[in-house]
Symmetry: C2
Subunit: 464 residues, 2 copies
Amino acid sequence: MSVPSNRINSLTSLTGELRALLGDRVSTAAAVRAHHGKDESYHAPHLPDAVTFPETTEEVAAIVEICARHKAPIIPFGTGTSLEGHVMALHGGVTVALTNMKKIKRVSAADMDVTVEAGVTRKQLNEHLRDTGLFFPIDPGADASLGGMTATRASGTNAVRYGTMRENVLALKVVLPDGRIVETAHRARKSAAGYDLTRLFVGSEGTLGIVTEVTLRLYGIPEAISAAVCPFESIAGAVDAVILTIQSGIPVARVELMDAESMAALNRYAKLAYPEKPTLLLEFHGTPTGVREQVDQFRTIASENGGGDLKWATSTEDRAKLWQARHDAAYACMAMRPGKKVWPTDVCVPISRLADCIAETKRDLDGSFLFAPVFGHVGDGNFHVTFVLDPDDAKEIAEVERLNERLVMRALAMDGTCTGEHGIGSGKMKFLVAEHGEGVQVMRAIKKAIDPDDIMNPGKVLRV
Amino acid sequence: MSVPSNRINSLTSLTGELRALLGDRVSTAAAVRAHHGKDESYHAPHLPDAVTFPETTEEVAAIVEICARHKAPIIPFGTGTSLEGHVMALHGGVTVALTNMKKIKRVSAADMDVTVEAGVTRKQLNEHLRDTGLFFPIDPGADASLGGMTATRASGTNAVRYGTMRENVLALKVVLPDGRIVETAHRARKSAAGYDLTRLFVGSEGTLGIVTEVTLRLYGIPEAISAAVCPFESIAGAVDAVILTIQSGIPVARVELMDAESMAALNRYAKLAYPEKPTLLLEFHGTPTGVREQVDQFRTIASENGGGDLKWATSTEDRAKLWQARHDAAYACMAMRPGKKVWPTDVCVPISRLADCIAETKRDLDGSFLFAPVFGHVGDGNFHVTFVLDPDDAKEIAEVERLNERLVMRALAMDGTCTGEHGIGSGKMKFLVAEHGEGVQVMRAIKKAIDPDDIMNPGKVLRV
């Protein structure tokens, strides 16, 4: 992709105004710019001209107003754990790091909701909630900021039971591209009052405004929680067991597939000794009786599909270890080729097509020279191929591009999506068009209406 | 509100073109226009100039194209059961009745989803699903069309467990105001691919386009279902029992409050003999053991809050009778003043404020001369005051307006919404502004971007 040159007329005047506003909470230091010009993906870094660290919504609004006057690109930054180049400053400009906005503004145990500043991370929130009997379930693996998770419509391991950010954001405070501050909703659990602005900003990846506060649904910590690891004879058997589990209406809280390659990587990385077979990682939430019922039902399904014995993790500590291992899967894959990067794909298909989609994808991968384990949140029909590659090797890049394109087109042909949870960023813009067709024109009309000068995270999601 | 005169230049040429397209599926007969110019509310009818009955999405697109060329208002019409004047032709124009679009296009038992044409009603759908073991839970009472339910972001009795149309629409086919046809999403359960067009059209009340096809989530019919009626000594006790039920995480499928006045109306209308006390109507879904657990937990909560014995309805027939009675509540209220209309209010507040909101509202009503029972979907914090009034009596209208405004402002002050499920229509436009403030400007920008000539259901939701 060709990157137009920086559009800012006078960088000196811009940073001068920002400094007058923020003092030393503006940085043009190379290291700071470098840190904020890349995410966890293979995408090449693009540095912003300056990085700002506001502490309030009003400061964010003031930064945006200054940038808008200079027509300077604005790039919101949470923790930089995105995977499709969302935070790269493709056209230079000013990164707005929400790092200092980490206040938990209110918790209502009675209403089971919370309002946090956008820089609060999911682990910080759950730590804060520890004594309330409540928790926030959405868990994309990384300890991402809740503003970033909102912006990418994140989901992760618990989504099969608790939904994604789409279902769990009640309201947002957003700074628009002209500096106006908007609250998208009140705290009622449901509303039929006008267009759904909350859902419009969830998943908009910073291209329509900057999320500065998030009001989220919380859930009671279940009375009983059991996690289990279940190896299977074949990947087809494991996938069929998942499909049957979902179709039987077992309210499983987590059901993660790991192929044999990812289990091997995990064993090596985290010094574990799981069977190196296709494996399901599961978690059941409910009353003690309810969990027992779920487990019995699942055990029958597993044994009919070549599943082995369930290895249990019931204590909080054992469960934490198990899920940490799952979250480390991408790092474990990377460690198999030290010094390399990962390119995680992210399709999602209707559950009835999941077995076919994974089988066809595995056939593709078997024919490739790349190391590419498969794992994912299969209860939703969502899975990842984690390509471990050398981003400087054109042959490897070309091979991933070829396989990724085949995978996306396969998922779209199966009535699925090019991204279940990672988002479009700059990496999947062409697939957005393949997926939505004429719908992209509607998205573009909305973008133009809200951000006519294309200053909010330009070069992401949509070409304007 | 002043209604500008009809904006159509040449009605003869417009109807001529429509007739060329649709033959006798265009009507300008007074009776047909009258039927389509009103909904179930107290709002005065406004007749369209013509009513069209398309049979395919392509025909809808062709109608819209003709109307767009004539700058004629277009009003989508499902079953006319809306409650805030959504279908009134305030500026004349062409009603697009989806009445003939009643095909169920596909059902996937494996994916638990279905695609229907917009004119399919919820009862028709559930009848069709009868042998699949699946059902569609959203139930606003009326046998509304699924297109209409999408347009108003409907919810109803089951929303406390299964969510509203917001959570249960997977994808839409929409005809835009210029005749283009857009599909908002594929069938994957989750997606992070671009702006959430599905959620943008859900609740847009026909002001951004016409929904012609809806893809919906389905659910397995629970193994065990029990419904119960539980009278309470006081309305405060009943509300507190609901709040505790929700806060305890009991996954109740329905929990409806009826005040003593509505129970009396119901007894008289449906020849029932329930105690004429504040009452909860409940339904529990789950495995047989799970339902027993839920019932035991609820019974404890009820007895600690002045609840009496639970009267059970377990057979399908008894449950159907119970919920039909609940759905008839508005008609039962109307029957208390034969020949009058209803004005049902519709606020929704965080559950922690529900008891206060209902208590303050009851105090207001006690001081009024109007008959105004209170009932609603209190598990969501959503309730209705059903004013029974003579719409030709200015004094009664003024009194409802006064009480409704006080109720809405009370709900907004409690961080609630002016409408939990009925929508804005033409009746609540001023409250949309009170609720969303600056957010209405964002909605307006979207409306202008998608419908620049304001031909889609003009005079609803937003003033352009």
